[in-house]
Symmetry: C2
Subunit: 132 residues, 2 copies
Amino acid sequence: MPVDEMSFRFGQHLIKPSVVFLKTELSFALVNRKPVVPGHVLVCPLRPVERFCDLRPDEVADLFQATQRVGTVIEKHFHGTSLTFSMQDGPEAGQTVKMVFHSCETGVQWHDLMIRLECNGVISRSDWSAMA
Amino acid sequence: MPVDEMSFRFGQHLIKPSVVFLKTELSFALVNRKPVVPGHVLVCPLRPVERFCDLRPDEVADLFQATQRVGTVIEKHFHGTSLTFSMQDGPEAGQTVKMVFHSCETGVQWHDLMIRLECNGVISRSDWSAMA
């Protein structure tokens, strides 16, 4: 099924297919239209889970193999030299995620699993527009 | 081979088997005797690589399946409610790692891949001693 005919669940939200740039067998990756830093993208399991421990082994493998692919593309695109990956897993960590990624959406509980990738490089904010 | 008969390479360092608490087919996990925060452990590929993109798909799968196992144990041990995973991948990110994990070892270039797990919970520093 083409990406643009699907909807993706991300916690309590349905993600617009237009921001999903990769779909694998068990994972998907999306851009953030208002990224905190350039190269800020998310990689998520297709099956919504609240905690990392809830993922099956094949989902773990797919998720991080997808993350590896995405990281390589992000770094190249932004002419970066390094990547920072982070995964906030659980309520306390989720609150941080909410602040970082959903500062405009107060009151949303946000525990679902995602991986944040950021590209560490000397790049301008405007570079981002090519991916958003 | 028993863990205590092996040596583990972690960047330019050889890791004492006594601090390695998990070995899988392609990965290993170690504790830090001077953790920055309680529950601070590292999970690494057995094959030394400099960048995440250098790992084979089977190594990626094994590394994060091991990370999932370790995270579950860490959270339970420290009576935490959440986990934070981070991976600094590359020279710029590696410098951060060097500061965080190797503040006593100045002049060491540290690019090798590792995943940092921290447990987010209200726990005391003394709790750590049970794992170190």
